[in-house]
């Protein structure tokens, strides 16, 4: 089964090469990209079954044994992340293919879009299966460089402006990560994650805290944890709808994934947990308040994204297996739901010609299916029972109550408040954009006039509405169904998250995967 491990990286990479070669044949390119991601999804399912039943897998690249060669490690956490990411990436790809067919490739020029998208997939997968700090850095760089291209796709003024912020902030976080790796190597003489974990306990406490904080800051920027989250609502909304959906769902969660690894494998001790709790609190509250103040659906969703990162950090900061399990379930839930909401926002943009809730209305009457596709994940994100958002938050609150210090109870209160604020922000979107009759919108023109008007990138007028292809709707429906499946199968999935968290209880199990014979000191 170890042969599956490198395949999750190789399949999208080879797919990218083939799509690049097929640059002048868009139809063939689309098929190759979809096939690559379908295979990836199959690999994700196979890996999860294999790892859950037969224990974690480690693969030594090129046959070079562990501390000298690079290892790829798949435990339950990695397998869950690979599977959820493959699923989301496939749905978003289908959406963008549908959009490309409807638009004649204006928004998503296929010849660069598909290869770059597959390279992004490669980077995401490298990050999830990497058992080596420097390889993790390389994975991050692969996905970031692909994301730079995707976020500035088409090179319009708004995208370049947003892209500059995004690129510079990401570069800074990469440099910080690289500097941390240099210092880890200087202190421990290795960058192999398992060996780093084994040797870290012998370091003086102050050096440990220094390395810990450096790594957390580097990953905190990627995960958009307050106060390092300012860049996200600025840069995500202006990208093409499918790109925003994929970024919002996945890229920040890779930062959270790295934080989980750091907190459970390298620094299992509780030294920085109170600090992380405070950061989680601020992320939740500031993000939710930002969402309430915005008037654009994509920006509202970006702020709720930041706010809900706080929940995951809360789960990690508890430092208990129950907290980690809740965080893992919450990550899976949030990747799916946030992507669905952004895809639905993409549909709204096409139906109404804008995503500003001050300018659109009457969508429930004019596009009832889109309304349903927005409403279900919105309730889910807001944490309405019985949806997975409720289950995830309940799990987090239970884990926090078990841990039981005063700060944990403050966070439970804040978490409940923030979920209400999220609901408020989303219900406002619902009331204004969907429920309000179109006639009540100030300065409303008739639908006919709107389709004639041509101002695709202006912020003051409503752009022309565009047709929605069936594939776009189908892929969004698919994501909504997956979101509901997270609720229906919550029992087995939460059990899986529990088992994944048990694997992460202390670094010994991770070291055991990479060095079954014991690690040299």
């Amino acid at each position: 089964m170890t042969a599956l491990v490198p395949l999750v990286v190789l399949v999208p990479l080879l797919g990218a090469a083939v799509t690049l070669a097929l640059g002048f044949r868009p139809q063939a390119q689309r098929i190759v990209a979809i096939v690559a991601l379908v295979i990836e999804l199959g690999l994700g399912i196979a890996l999860l079954i294999a790892v859950d039943a037969g224990g974690p897998l480690a693969m030594e690249l090129g046959g070079w044994s562990a501390p000298f060669g690079i290892v790829l490690v798949v435990d339950r956490l990695s397998a869950v992340m690979v599977l959820v990411s493959a699923l989301v990436l496939l749905a978003v790809l289908l959406f963008s293919v549908g959009q490309g067919i409807a638009d004649g490739d204006e928004e998503t020029p296929v010849s660069i879009y598909n290869p770059t998208y597959l390279i992004l997939t490669t980077g995401v997968m490298v990050a999830f299966v990497s058992g080596d700090l420097f390889n993790l850095y390389v994975g991050f760089e692969i996905l970031l460089v692909a994301s730079y291209v995707l976020i500035t796709l088409g090179g319009t003024e708004a995208r370049i402006r947003a892209g500059v912020t995004y690129v510079i902030v990401s570069l800074l976080s990469s440099l910080l990560f690289l500097a941390s790796i240099a210092m880890v190597y200087g202190a421990l003489g290795t960058v192999n994650l398992a060996q780093v974990a084994a040797r870290m306990q012998d370091l003086p406490a102050d050096v440990q805290v220094l390395l810990h904080v450096m790594l957390l800051v580097a990953f905190g920027i990627k995960a958009a944890v307050f106060p390092l989250s300012f860049w996200l609502p600025d840069s995500y909304p202006s990208a093409p709808a499918p790109v925003t959906a994929a970024f919002a769902g996945l890229l920040t969660k890779i930062g959270v994934y790295a934080i989980i690894r750091v907190e459970t494998v390298i620094f299992p001790g509780p030294e920085l947990n109170p600090a992380l709790m405070v950061v989680a609190l601020l992320t939740m509250v500031v993000g939710a308040l930002g969402a309430v103040a915005q008037a654009d659906i994509k920006r509202i969703l970006s702020f709720t994204l930041v706010s809900h990162i706080g929940y995951m950090i809360l789960g990690v900061a508890l430092g208990t297996a129950a907290g980690t399990a809740a965080a893992i379930y919450y990550i899976a839930h949030h990747i799916v739901i946030q992507t669905t909401l952004f895809l639905a926002a993409g549909l709204v943009e096409r139906e109404a010609g804008s995503t500003s809730i001050t300018r659109i209305g009457g969508l429930l009457a004019s596009a009832p299916l889109v309304a349903v596709l927005f409403f279900v994940p919105a309730l889910n994100l807001g944490g309405i029972p019985p949806f997975s958002g409720f289950i995830g938050k309940l799990g987090l609150f239970q884990a926090a109550a078990e841990q039981g210090d005063a700060l944990a109870y403050v966070l439970i209160g804040a978490g409940a408040l923030v979920s209400l604020l999220t609901l408020y922000a989303l219900v406002r979107v619902w009331n204004l954009a969907f429920w309000r009759p179109a006639g009540e919108v100030e300065g409303d023109e008739t639908r006919l006039l709107r389709t004639v008007e041509e101002a695709p990138h202006s912020t003051t007028t409503i752009a022309a509405t565009r047709a929605t292809s069936r594939l776009m709707t189908v892929s969004t429906v698919l994501m909504v169904v997956v979101g509901i499946a997270l609720t229906v199968f919550a029992g087995p999935l939460y059990g899986l998250a529990d088992r994944a968290a048990d694997n992460l209880d202390g670094p010994e199990q991770y070291i055991q995967i990479v060095f079954p014979q014991g690690v040299e000191p």
């Binding site: 730079y148 500035t152 402006r161 912020t165 510079i168 690289l178 790796i181 915005q294 406002r428 912020t459």
Partner: protein, 145 residues
Amino acid sequence: MSISLILVITMGALFAAGVYMLLERSLTRVVLGFLLLGNAVNLLLLIMAGEAGIAPIVEEGVADDAYTDPLPQALILTAIVITFAVSAFLLALIYRSWRLANADDVSDDADDVALREGAVEMPVEETAPDAEDTEFPTDDARSRA
């Protein structure tokens, strides 16, 4: 582990200058700052290799600690390649930004500015019921009475 003081000072200077440039609003300076920071980090990696020694090709009768540690050099090479590619992209991005907006600085987010200056007015949802829809006395009914 003994390390060269000159390298450390150079690294510190590069970090300081890099951070200073990165904080500027002009994009050209940001690029320069990024390049300086990238080199500073590479230098940090080099310093972490410890004392310089002979080339790490194993020979008979040479003590283990006489060799230079080759791993940081491999890491630096990778980092240099990545920095190179990213700076090329960054330059293209800035050139495009200059062509489009004719400006060489980090611009403010238009939506943020609008929000700050109160240009975005939030529509208030109607909470008062219409007189026809309710049996309770409404504001209209009260004013008429």
